[in-house]
């Protein structure tokens, strides 16, 4: 049997797509599913997925865990563990639409949880850190359980299959989100595993990514010093951890984060103002191991916005479109034209230059 | 103009320049054939001072060349800064040897005068002594000095 995710490093090509309303208007998943259809050939049916922000307004204060279980016993084991750390607010099936294109489905549950204050006090950590630790523990140590989404008021939906089928399977037309990201996968050496599909999430960060990064092991071995465990050995996973580490734990801004991941060349830095020179030099000096090289286009989703970023040589395609309050991002312009047929303003961002979109304050 | 200068602090006294010179001006393509079993008459000569310091001396291509002024046959001339000898005109009187204050014009072993012509007339292209010096003690450069 071929090795699964986590047993071997898996490079893969992909398609990405995203749409976001800066006004915080919530839209159902129809449009984002449609956007993946013209990019069908960028996937090979071994993985598709979506992330949606703003979909659980009534549970916005709770962490929404989306979990795959291989068996009832695994589910029971996992729930026992969760109860040691969290109040279980709600535990339910994620509704799916049975279809021939999607097979081998695991048990798919959605659990809203709230960290127990006593635990936080005992461990001297904040609630986010607790979620990260527990999720890492489940994913690394509990056989048959895999948490694939764990943020607030957001969720990831993914499966083995083509992305448009995955969207239908999860009935995404029934969810309303102000920000959607999508991913179609083209892995080159795996039979495909549900957990290995994208997006990859950590707290409310979700990453969809197209590329194969050459810095992988340098990034992985660095980030693993800080409690992360790259169980999937995928680019998306490590980039998610890098984003979490830089944004949440180091407190870098999105721009600063982009300047670490896709650092400007020294020759570019030389030409900047003294203040910028000092800043960029500092970031490259302090976080050299988090520079990501090789081709990538990623879309980092988070509560209240998203950031799209290309590698600094722009070795992967990525286009951005803007119309009214909407911003669209995709591997191919065709995908954007599906979502917004009348769109005028489409451009291709330069390598290493982040495109950051934020929803109006208070609108999500 | 470019001239040959010596850096005596780097001269090893190995005398390779003399052999490279003799070979370069031998008109032959094989050094062994050119020099083996022969006394060489190089146009550059290594001297050793009282402290054991060595350095090579070759034609300075003077601004006021006594050799050119003294040549009875009109065989020596200065063209583009280089003092040349026209061997077809030279009759071997060696007056040039008698007047060169640096001892840089020498007899070639057959009674004819010869001197450094910066390897411009042989197939070397650039001074062989410079090219062959293992320690950069002889250089061919323009120090911007007035003619």
């Amino acid at each position: 049997m071929s090795p699964l995710e986590g047993q071997v490093r898996i490079p893969s090509g992909c398609a990405v797509s995203a749409m976001i309303s800066r006004d915080g208007r919530r839209m159902n998943g129809e449009s984002i599913i449609q956007s993946m259809i013209p990019m069908h050939d960028r996937s090979n049916g071994l993985g598709g997925g979506f992330a949606a922000y703003g979909i659980y307004p009534e549970y916005r204060d709770f962490y929404a865990l989306h979990i795959f279980f291989n068996s009832k016993s695994a589910q029971a084991e996992c729930m026992t563990l969760l109860k040691e750390y969290f109040e279980i607010v709600q535990d339910e099936h994620i509704k799916v639409r049975k279809m021939p294109q999607i097979t081998d489905e695991p048990i798919i549950r959605r659990v809203f949880v709230s960290p127990m204050q006593s635990v936080l006090r005992h461990l001297q950590i904040d609630d986010k850190e607790l979620v990260v630790r527990v999720v890492n523990r489940i994913n690394a140590q509990l056989d048959g359980s895999y948490v694939f989404s764990c943020g607030k008021n957001m969720g990831a939906f993914k499966a083995v299959g083509f992305p448009e089928d995955v969207g239908r399977y999860y009935r995404l037309e029934e969810y309303e989100a102000y920000s959607w990201t999508a991913h179609g996968r083209y892995p080159t050496n795996t039979p495909g595993w549900w957990g290995g599909a994208h997006p990859f999430c950590m707290l409310d960060y979700s990453i969809v990514h197209n590329g194969e990064i050459s810095s992988y092991d340098a990034n992985r071995r660095f980030i693993e010093m800080y409690g992360y465990k790259c169980t999937l050995q995928t680019d998306t996973e490590v980039i998610t951890y890098i984003a979490d580490y830089l944004i949440r734990r180091q407190g870098l801004t999105l721009d600063e984060t982009a300047a670490v991941i896709a650092a400007p060349f020294w020759s570019t830095i030389e030409g900047k103002s003294e203040a910028d020179k000092a800043k960029y030099t500092y970031l490259r000096t302090v976080f050299p191991s988090l520079l990501v090289t090789g081709p990538f286009s990623i879309i980092l989703g988070f509560n209240g916005g998203l950031m799209a970023l290309n590698d600094r040589l722009k070795l992967r395609s990525m286009v951005v479109g803007e119309q009214d309050d909407m911003v669209y991002i995709a591997s191919e312009e065709a995908a954007i034209r599906v979502m917004a047929p009348e769109i005028q303003n489409i451009w291709s961002p330069a390598g290493g230059e982040p495109v950051i979109v934020r929803v109006k304050e208070g609108a999500f | 103009m470019k001239r040959i200068y010596v850096k005596e602090e780097w001269c090893l006294g190995c005398h390779l320049c003399e052999y490279n010179c003799a070979f370069a001006n031998s008109g032959m393509t094989d050094m062994v054939k050119a020099l083996r079993g022969k006394t060489i008459y190089p146009r550059i000569q290594v001297e050793t001072d009282e402290n054991g310091v060595t350095y090579a001396v070759s034609c300075r291509h003077c601004n006021d060349p006594l050799c050119v002024k003294s040549c009875i046959a009109g065989a020596l001339s200065k063209k583009d800064g280089v003092i040349e000898i026209d061997h077809s005109k030279c009759v071997g009187c060696l007056t040039c040897v008698l007047v060169c204050p640096y001892g840089a014009v020498v007899e070639d072993g057959s009674g004819v005068a010869q001197k450094c012509e910066l390897c411009m007339k042989n197939t070397c292209g650039a001074p062989a002594c410079v090219k062959g010096c293992p320690n950069g003690a002889i250089v061919y450069e323009d120090r911007g000095e007035a003619e």
Binding site: K279, L315 | Y19, V32, R36, N135
Partner: protein, 498 residues
């Protein structure tokens, strides 16, 4: 006991033009000209096979070959072993050797292969795209801090900035010549890297290269004073050396002459003996005290490097150093060179740098303190490929010394301890020192580093990496061939084909 000489001088008389260059250039007085017979003669027993005569012979009339006169074959007692016994039986002395361990022990660099991109991601052409090799060595902060206005506080612990991840390793003035130091200093300056004074102090002429100088503090403390410490860009505490772990150094009085003795601050002609330990460092906490003493003395302006030989428990030692306040750890493998070391020590003590480096990098990461220190890898880094492999194993930069000596003309005859280096490197004899013209020496070092930088960029480009930091510790880019499971495990790499 008389042996047949180890080398034979083969002179092709039909090519010899009697220019006597060989005679003039041999400090061992192997060659001479016989006026009567008009031939060149030689005394081969004096020959160390430094190839000076071969190199300078204008007609290629000379070669030096290994003598085939052999003692009776014995797979257990090699010729070398037997002759060493004879020598010791004769002299009662410790055998001395120079340069690195020449024995056929495994060279792991040669059993590690480098990856390249095909199809799924593109190789990068260094002639078309920027390819960055700049490296910072020094302690990195665990957390960023911000100024009141929210901007990043960009103050950092002192860092060394290298244009490429290679530096010239410690070789003292005394063990090598003034001109060798001049060559290294000038090349380091021109290249934007660093050279290392070694333990012999810093000649006053070279203070001007201070921005590119690492000053060493070794157990003998030769030439160490306030101005010296402040002259460099970093201070290196030498705890050990790969060629001779566990023992000190010994510069014979014959080399401690003139400026060498002045620079070392020792009487002319006296032996300069570095003790095996630093007598103020008998434990890791003592090291911490010295690290901070040196930092205090230089107002925390300079990073402190601690250099250790790669020995069995190097990972634990490195962990201790990383917590000692040191900014950089230099690890020197058992193949590293020396101007003189007891043969038995050189050939039998220490471990390969590849394994040591991998173990140290892993240990520091396991302990989450890899960012506290930078790692320099030394002890037989021979090519750009070795550099790339070292970086991918986890080094921040490499130290080279043997390769640098080779660039300056060394022919690895391993006779440095005689002080008669025909190439003007490991000698203090003025007529020999003169043979290394720093104009040439520095240019050759610059050429070598330029060439390596190009090759590093080519290799990186092939891997689809366009900045050296993305290569550091990127062990997925390496595969082993012909290595055991254990070796692969220690190196932290997969076997080729996996």
């Amino acid at each position: 006991m008389n042996f047949y000489p180890e080398f034979e001088v083969v002179r092709n008389d039909s090519r010899c033009i009697r220019c006597r260059v060989c005679e003039r250039q041999c400090a061992n007085e192997v060659h001479w000209y016989d006026e009567d017979g008009k031939v060149m003669l030689s005394d081969e027993s004096k020959c160390v096979n430094c190839q000076r005569c071969v190199t300078l012979c204008p007609t290629r009339a000379l070669k030096i070959v290994k003598s085939d006169c052999r003692l009776r074959e014995n797979a257990n007692y090699s010729d070398q072993t037997i002759k060493e016994i004879y020598r010791q039986a004769e002299t009662g002395g410790v055998l001395l050797s120079s340069m690195g361990n020449p024995n056929p022990l495994p060279v792991y660099w040669d059993k590690i292969l480098i990856n390249a991109s095909q199809v799924t991601n593109p190789p990068i052409d260094p002639l078309r795209e920027p390819m960055e090799t700049r490296v910072f060595l020094g302690k990195k902060p665990d957390h960023i801090t911000r100024n009141a206005d929210g901007s990043l506080d960009t103050k950092l612990a002192p860092q060394l900035t290298l244009s490429m991840p290679v530096m010239f390793s410690a070789m003292s003035y005394g063990s090598i010549s003034y001109n060798a130091h001049a060559s290294l200093a000038r090349a380091a300056s021109a290249l934007g890297i660093y050279y290392n004074t070694g333990e012999g102090g810093l000649h006053e002429d070279f203070y001007k290269y201070g921005k590119n100088t690492i000053v060493q503090v070794a157990s003998g403390r030769f030439g160490v004073h306030k101005d010296y410490l402040e002259a460099g860009a970093a201070i290196e505490i030498k705890m050990g050396q790969g060629a001779k772990p566990g023992i000190g150094g010994h510069l014979p009085g014959t080399k401690a002459v003139g400026d060498v003795s002045k620079t070392r601050m020792i009487p002319e002609g006296s032996d300069a003996i570095s003790p095996a330990p630093h007598h103020d460092i008998y434990s890791i906490e003592d090291l911490r005290q010295l690290v901070y003493s040196l930092k205090e003395a230089t107002e925390y302006r300079l990073p402190v490097i601690v250099k250790v030989a790669a020995v069995h428990n190097i990972a634990a030692i490195a962990s201790g150093i990383a917590r000692s306040g040191a900014d950089i750890i230099a690890i020197d493998g058992f193949r590293g060179g020396t101007g003189a070391a007891p043969t038995r020590i050189r050939d039998n003590v220490g471990i390969p740098i590849e394994l040591a480096l991998a173990a140290v990098d892993k240990r520091l990461r396991d302990e989450g303190i890899r960012n506290n220190v930078s790692i320099i890898c030394g002890g037989s880094v021979r090519s750009a490929a070795d550099v790339v492999k070292a970086i991918a194993l986890g080094a921040d930069a490499c130290y080279i010394a043997t390769a640098a000596c080779l660039a300056m003309g060394c022919h690895l005859c391993r006779s440095c301890h005689t002080g008669k280096c025909n190439w003007g490197i490991a000698t203090q004899r003025p007529d020999l020192v003169k043979r290394l013209n720093p104009d040439i020496g520095s240019q050759r070092l610059i050429n070598l580093m330029d060439a390596w930088r190009h090759e590093i960029k080519e290799l990186m480009g092939g891997m689809g990496i366009n900045s050296i930091e993305a290569l550091r510790g990127n062990r997925l880019m390496l595969r082993g061939v012909g290595l055991t499971e254990k070796e692969l495990e220690i190196l932290g790499i997969s076997h080729a084909g996996e």
